[in-house]
Symmetry: C2
Subunit: 610 residues, 2 copies
Amino acid sequence: MVKESRVDVLIIGAGPSGLMCANALAGAGVDFRIIDNRPVGVAAGQADGIQPRTIEVLQSYGLAEPLLKEGAQMHLCAFYNPGPNGGIERTGRAPDVTAPTARFPFKITISQASIEAVFLESLKSQGISVDRPIVPSSLEISQDPEELLDPSSYPAKVVLDHIGPSDSTPEQEIVHAKFVLGADGAHSWVRKTLGFTMDGEQTDYIWGVIDFIPDTNFPDIRNRSAIHSSNGSCMIIPREGDKVRFYLQMLDKDVMDPETGRIDKQKVTAENLINTARKTFYPYIINEPKKVDWCSIYIIGQRVASKFSKHERVFIAGDACHTHSPKAGQGMNASMNDTHNLAWKLAQVLRGRADISLLKTYELERQKYAQDLINFDREFSTLFSGKPRTSENEDGVSHEEFLRAFQASGGFSSGIGVHYMPSAIVETIHQGCAPNLIIGQRMLPQMFVRAADARPVEIQDMLPADTRFKLLFFVGLLTSEQLTRVRGLAEELQLPTSFLQKYDYQAQGKAQSMFDIISIAAGHKDDVNFLDLPPTFRTHWSQVLIDDTDVTGRLGGGAYPRFGIDEKEITLVVVRPDGYVGMVAPSTALESVDKYFGSFLIGKTLNPEA
Amino acid sequence: MVKESRVDVLIIGAGPSGLMCANALAGAGVDFRIIDNRPVGVAAGQADGIQPRTIEVLQSYGLAEPLLKEGAQMHLCAFYNPGPNGGIERTGRAPDVTAPTARFPFKITISQASIEAVFLESLKSQGISVDRPIVPSSLEISQDPEELLDPSSYPAKVVLDHIGPSDSTPEQEIVHAKFVLGADGAHSWVRKTLGFTMDGEQTDYIWGVIDFIPDTNFPDIRNRSAIHSSNGSCMIIPREGDKVRFYLQMLDKDVMDPETGRIDKQKVTAENLINTARKTFYPYIINEPKKVDWCSIYIIGQRVASKFSKHERVFIAGDACHTHSPKAGQGMNASMNDTHNLAWKLAQVLRGRADISLLKTYELERQKYAQDLINFDREFSTLFSGKPRTSENEDGVSHEEFLRAFQASGGFSSGIGVHYMPSAIVETIHQGCAPNLIIGQRMLPQMFVRAADARPVEIQDMLPADTRFKLLFFVGLLTSEQLTRVRGLAEELQLPTSFLQKYDYQAQGKAQSMFDIISIAAGHKDDVNFLDLPPTFRTHWSQVLIDDTDVTGRLGGGAYPRFGIDEKEITLVVVRPDGYVGMVAPSTALESVDKYFGSFLIGKTLNPEA
């Protein structure tokens, strides 16, 4: 008898994408399993860059802290170009992150193993571990349209081979899953099984990568450095501790087998890479390293999967969906953000609170992003792999040209500029009442002071990724006239027809409720009394904020004008569970908010058991 | 046979003072034991306020984080006085901390149990626990002057009774200790055994204290509030979670037994305290609490021990040295700072690196502080216990008078203003070369950017309480002329006669070395090359800072003018292991730095084994 089991979500692959999903689902109390075909996780090498937006996202799960502590931080980028003496010289330094609204104005670099460890630790504290080594061997999806639309059905059947000691026959298991996620990497078995193609092209540039502790007189060894030399390009990525990663442009003759036209693995040695680095670095020197942690080689290819989902029942995410060059430090970030986007949707559908059609927005939002990503990467890689401009090569890439492209792409490469297009969950109709809080972009970080105790708080810290929609009521300046309007709005929201009543199920824990209300008053902390607000707008004393500075005058203040919100109106900002602004609306347009939530949530009366 | 044992330091009492000492000694690798007469630690009540300077100190041990996370924070103080309608009304709100240089511009409140738990957790991670319940029954100190001066001798003999199950005879143990610390509270057995008196007086004011979750319409229930009502005074201290502490002025008739003239414990009930609170709060209401966590009553007394040390072999610290009212939230802070002051001195003497006379500075510094503390407390308590000024009572305390006193004492009450007088370890001769870094006060917090990677760092985070002296070399603007001088200074410091060579023993671990060098350059992060400094001034790439802003322009910069340091000179700032500025000197006065360290450190040649 083959063992059979059922699970709500089966996650295949325990890299950053699978682990982000697992952690988010665990937090939401969703029944899931995560499997991986490797007996242990990665040891060295692989991805290592965490972009500013990803730090914000990790923070929303309470996971950023260890990475902020242990990782290196890249604040500056140095640019080197061929100098008059044949070697390189510094053309300038500039902030590495050019996204003015980034809460964390830097990138973190740390080994992929450390990042995975943060997720594994979090899962462990909830009693969850990765099942490994397990290899999936077949995947079938029901063709029954009714079954596919019923979120309580198990339309996916996956056969798993539990790998035992070598030579033993793997033990088989049949898993019936409501949903399956293929987070199984660039060579994704799930993607191939679904028959999705990878569309895009291979480029001709060959890059080497090496992790080690350098002994050098190069003055920017602890900054990100982009070196364009006449002997090839190099990107320096400082890492945790004293480690550094080099990305090195390689010449065909140094790494290719001239007979086969393929990379000759014999030639990819640390020595070979260090020698290439030395030529690039001249006149700076690199002494013989005591130890090399890891090295590898790759040929850039930019590709996106033709589809991200089959019937909204089997999804792919991460490297399974997009491959591109690692130099811009995007891969792991795109991967984690894929499943950050997916997890809350799965949770709400599984709870019976959201319509299964909500899951269509995953492909809609993330495939568009992936396409933008490979376009960005193609452009950036070409510029970076191109010959530098010198007197002999006047068509080469100039420092100014590279710097301009570097800075123009800062919004995108930092992840801060990610912008989801209008959909069921992105409603832009009332953008005008908060013109600078772009609907479809992440909620801007902003310090406020808490009305009850004047403690400064970052609004993003009040938006945890806990599957709830956050309702930010900007209640304005609390004049007696305004308070009358606020009380009127509270009454309206208490009506059984209001979205707040229709979709906020009576439930046990906080994580199970649908909405979290935060009120933000204009005014001065010396005057505002939070008890003046009706109870609807102060579910707890800590949920009322003031747009004012803290006691030192250094933190907070200025949010109303910054967001473009009128202090004399009441404005609602709906922040999605993943931290993106889903809608803004004036208090006079509650019916459009009802309509917004009605387009993807399921009312209590329709689903009394949920 | 009675069990006999030896230990370098025996700590009697595991409250905040004893635990701070234990944790510091553990970090320094000192052999010690900590005992306590209670079978378990405190459960509820007791001290609960952590002042800004204490947060800095805890941070220097890496212990502030959990308290910053879990504790309440008091940013504002609200002031209430009798209004025209017979009840109280708010006269104003003001920052609770009036110490402009505080790194943490607020106080933390949290139960003493949680604070002790942070220390206990830290000790546990180092394999150390409190021995309890153990009661000391006798203490003898050798009278032999030679033995007393020899730091490797064991001149203290303490008999301990290990308390077993009730009715069993306690098991005795004789401990021979090099040093003993009595951190055994207001009724200190060690203090009494040494025959030290408590000097000061009892006042007549009776105060009640109660911890509970209030249900009230009082708008400042989450701010610290000082209420002067015609029915008595009240101090509100918001606490972790939704808890609040009230300090309530009680009338004699409500709590005294008229026959004995003593407090009648029967009358000290939660109900009695809540009723007093209600009278004080009128017209605001307090609903019947569901649960009261803790309540107690006390009569203020301000006293200081006549001596803090016997032969620099047995010390007392914390409540054993000073008692005063709890309302200003000082007690636990004074206690922890007592042993923070003592621990590094003990460690250096025990290692044979410092002369035993160094220990004299403990009483010198902390007794003076304790005297200032009870003077402050007497003044503050009298003002706060006094009748408020009203039309019927024109001699009463006015809001302005109270606020003025409140703000004037902010430097002291926050702990920020603590100023140690000149001594072997406080040398003010060259104050002029950094006039705003007051010698004898704690090193000012200040953000810098790291030269190698432009990461913003708080200088206090580079001054861990690890028993090392931190040498802050302000190397100025690195012109080629200045670099020549810097190289000259590096050479001078390498001479065998230099303090840096004489007192920095070759030792295994970082914690065992005597000095840590941090270089701080003036200039701009886009230009400074940390590799320009000679190796003496860059023992690691992370040890070189620049007085510049970070990439956002929001953090750092302006330290040279703020401290009054000349960018064209080289200035050394010596920070003691406890974070206090011990000396400043121009690079041209190395001989006075040699003299400073020579006055309390022991050179390598004199002590080749250490």
